[in-house]
């Protein structure tokens, strides 16, 4: 039997990375196929190829038994393929209705191509179906992340399609919003629409998928039929080994230890519930929450990137004032940012220059940096962190994600860190490098450094943290410790529910 959509032997490589290696995918009409895999497994790349965003190096795509060439987004749309991207791609300067219908506005006025005002009614219909409660006239820049995500979904729903590809649509949705989305997906299935669904939330997949395709490191790792879709089975195929082998952080913190860092009654927004927490020496504190729940903003406030409206920060019991990144760095509080390419690294500069960036004052004399100054320090760091680079003068932009992350870390280890805040430390990093990063964090903790790890990867939170803080709507929703830490308890806090005592 031939499938409705079939992708055969798809290959795609990026500089320094084989993203997809002879990957096969097939799906039937009215089927919900979940595609799972770790970050960097190639899911998004495969979906982008099917959506016409990028072109494969080789391979064949068949639709209804016919070979098709999906060279561009308009072509994909013509074939009836709609793609909801993982990242938000919205024109924030336009209103909701304009975004939903961008590129396919209902028109009148013939050659004048005026935009028909019924756009707002049409938008309203879709928005209500999705439970997006705002005006279609509202500017997208004023929406919350969850609402933006819904606009992105509404946009795909606005036109006729036979295949809907959803790349982590629920990443920033509340439980309610997600539930509603599943309802819509099921209704689409009834109408014989094919859905390709990517998510990290394996629970969701158990709930709605008809079949699961697992990718690992750009290869097909296996398939699960409806009856086999179980959390453990998926994880086994995703990581390629039993879950037990997953990194385990040695919990060795003394509960009685004096806090290393204490944040008291901190606010970075007006009308915000003050945030108070502490980190003990050698402790890895995980911080969970939905995207947009304020985790990154909190980290930025503690490290002086954002003005602190109220609150105090104590380091070893001593009140320190942080009003700029320089203050935080002087105190030994460092941030390894979420978007390392944008905020962590100077991409066109060399490995050496990046590592030394925060320590130039210590190396230079009177502002002049000796030509080979710091070479030995950089060499040490590269060895200690096993940074794989052809030379110290390699442009950092050409390194793999894992090595880039280590360069960011090396930059801070050149100074004397006391607290390091990791924001999504393993996003887009392959499994092997992930383990190395975890080991490094463990190493740092062993030296008595306090670590705050912000992560959307529950697996990671579960296995690396000594203690977990959960954020919801820019406030601390709760704190979990020991055996209270579970996927369910975290999600409940993150979506605004209270943990059953």
């Amino acid at each position: 039997m031939s499938h409705f959509l079939e992708a055969k032997k798809i290959c795609k490589s990026f500089p320094g990375l084989q993203a997809l290696n002879n990957v096969d995918l097939n799906v039937n009409k009215g089927e919900i196929l979940a595609v799972v895999g770790e970050n960097g497994a190639g899911k998004s790349t495969l979906m982008k190829i099917l959506g016409g965003v990028i072109n494969p190096d080789s391979g064949e795509i068949l639709l209804d038994g016919q070979t098709v060439n999906i060279a561009s987004i308009p072509q994909a749309q013509k074939l009836g393929i709609a793609l909801i991207h993982q990242e938000l791609h919205l024109a924030e300067n336009l209103n909701v209705a304009a975004n939903i219908f961008l590129g396919q506005e209902p028109r009148r006025g013939g050659i004048l191509r005026l935009i028909d005002n019924k756009i707002y009614d049409l938008a309203n219909q879709i928005m209500q179906e999705l439970g997006l409660n705002c005006s279609p006239h509202a500017l997208v820049s004023e929406l919350s992340v969850g609402q933006k995500q819904l606009v992105e979904i509404a946009r795909a729903l606005s036109f006729q399609f036979r295949i809907l590809i959803m790349d982590e649509p629920t990443a920033s949705l509340s439980l309610d919003e997600s539930k509603r989305l599943f309802g819509i997906i099921k209704a689409l299935k009834e109408k014989d629409v094919t859905v390709l669904y990517i998510s990290h939330r394996l629970k969701e997949i158990e709930e709605i998928a008809d079949r699961v395709l697992v990718l690992r490191d750009g290869l097909n790792s296996g398939e699960l039929q409806k009856s086999e879709i179980k959390h453990e089975a998926m994880v086994r195929l995703m990581v390629g080994r039993e879950l037990k082998q997953f990194f385990q952080h040695a919990h060795r913190v003394q509960k009685t230890a004096e806090p290393l860092l204490r944040v008291e009654a901190l606010r970075y927004l007006e009308n915000q519930k003050p945030i108070t927490f502490d980190i003990r020496p050698g402790e890895i504190v995980g911080m969970s929450g939905l995207a947009g729940s304020g985790r990154t903003e909190l980290a930025e406030t503690i490290t002086g990137l954002r003005p602190m409206l109220t609150g105090e920060v104590f380091l070893k019991g001593e009140n320190i004032s942080i009003s700029s990144p320089a203050d935080a760095i002087r105190a030994g509080i460092f941030l390894v940012p979420e978007d390392r390419r944008l905020h962590g690294l100077v991409l066109p500069a060399s490995v050496k220059d990046n590592i030394l960036l925060a320590s130039l004052n210590n190396i230079g004399h009177l502002g002049i940096i000796p030509l080979r100054g710091g070479d030995s320090l950089v060499q040490d760091m590269c060895e200690k962190l096993t940074i794989k680079t052809p030379s110290l003068n390699q442009q950092v932009g050409f390194l793999s994600g894992g090595n880039q992350q280590k360069v960011v870390l090396a930059k801070w280890l050149c100074r004397k860190p006391r607290v390091i805040i990791f924001d999504e430390p393993t996003q887009g990093i392959d499994v092997g490098a992930k383990a190395e990063i975890y080991a490094l964090m463990d190493e740092l903790a062993k030296d008595g450094i306090g670590i705050l790890m912000i992560s959307s990867d529950l697996e990671e939170i579960l296995h690396v943290s000594d203690r977990v803080l959960v954020m919801h709507h820019a406030s601390l929703a709760g704190e979990l410790e020991g055996k209270d830490i579970s996927e369910e308890s975290i999600m409940k806090l993150a979506t605004g529910g209270l943990v059953a005592a």
Partner: protein, 315 residues
């Protein structure tokens, strides 16, 4: 519209200041002159704004103006051409469109930065204008009286013709930008080019369109310039015009990052840009102080605009 509060207040203040400074017998004449200037320079502000809305920039406007004015003068009056205006004008406007097309293609297809492409244009077109004119002023003397009458001389219902022309262009631009699919795409490209691309919009095509329109409007301005001043000196006319145009657009609410700006705002911005030098002349500010006064006043306007804007939302 709330965004424009500060600007409107500033414009009103300047106009009141003007009304006080101008002797009453010259007041009507000065209003007429000012309206004519706003109409004239509004044409290039609109052009600059179209490009700025897509997140681009066009620094070649002044040189395109000079080149088209020179070419227009040559086409109309040179012995070897001596074309009918019905033929010469489309040729000049078409030339402007071709220049914009070249800019657009270089920027989208070769991925060159707009700043560089149009800066090079700034040099090249002035050089071309000086070359084709033999580095001499080119005038239309007493010829083309009909054309001059049609575009420039005499009022329509008491309004200068340049202002009437601008009002027509502004209405077209407002429909284009605020009510049509084309304009919607220009804003989307300026706001988030990737989002526009992912929505299946041929972003390159629309960016090219914005440069074509900008250069065509600059060429049209060149014709108006020629009608008003009777001649163009390729070596010295039109300097800084692009900066006045860009300043008018930006003052009127076009963000240089793209995606923002309204025709009303652009009009107000242009009005402020040209009411200022008029006011300094009325004050009798010595030539050497003129730029200090204009610069400081613009800064004042920008500050008022910022202060009177409703509190910015949290990002």
């Amino acid at each position: 519209m709330k965004k424009l509060t500060g600007l409107i207040v500033f414009l009103v203040v300047l106009y009141i200041a003007l009304a006080i400074a101008v002797p009453s017998q010259g007041f009507a004449l000065n209003n007429y002159n000012l309206a004519e200037r706003i109409g004239q320079y509004g044409v290039i502000s609109l052009g600059a704004a179209l490009v700025i809305i897509t997140g681009g920039i066009d620094l070649s406007i002044g040189s395109v103006v000079v080149l088209s004015a020179t070419a227009c003068a040559i086409l109309l009056t040179d012995k070897s051409f001596g074309l009918d205006p019905m033929l010469a004008l489309p040729l000049v406007l078409g030339g402007g469109a071709v220049i914009g097309l070249i800019h657009g293609l270089l920027i989208t297809k070769m991925n060159l930065p707009p700043f560089m492409v149009t800066l090079c244009g700034l040099f090249i077109y002035r050089g071309v204008a000086r070359t084709i004119s033999g580095n001499m002023s080119k005038g239309i003397g007493n010829q083309c009286i009909e054309l001059r009458h049609f575009l420039y001389e005499g009022d329509i219902f008491g309004l200068p013709r340049f202002l009437v022309i601008y009002i027509i262009l502004a209405i077209i631009a407002a429909i284009f930008l605020h009510f049509s699919v084309y304009g919607r795409y220009l804003y989307a490209i300026g706001g988030n080019e990737k989002a526009a691309k992912y929505s299946g919009i041929a972003t390159d095509k629309y960016k090219i369109l914005s440069y074509v329109l900008c250069s065509t409007l600059a060429a049209f301005f060149g014709i108006l310039f020629l009608m008003k001043n009777n001649a163009v000196t390729p070596s010295s006319d039109g300097f800084f015009l692009e900066l006045y145009a860009i300043a008018g657009a930006v003052l009127g609410g076009c963000s240089l990052r793209g995606g923002e700006g309204t025709v009303i705002g652009i009009t107000i911005g242009t009005a402020i840009m040209w009411i200022l030098p008029n006011l300094t002349n009325m004050w009798g500010v010595p030539s050497e102080l003129e730029f200090i006064v204009i610069g400081s006043a613009l800064l004042l306007g920008a500050i008022m605009d910022e202060k009177l804007r409703p509190a910015a939302k949290n990002a």
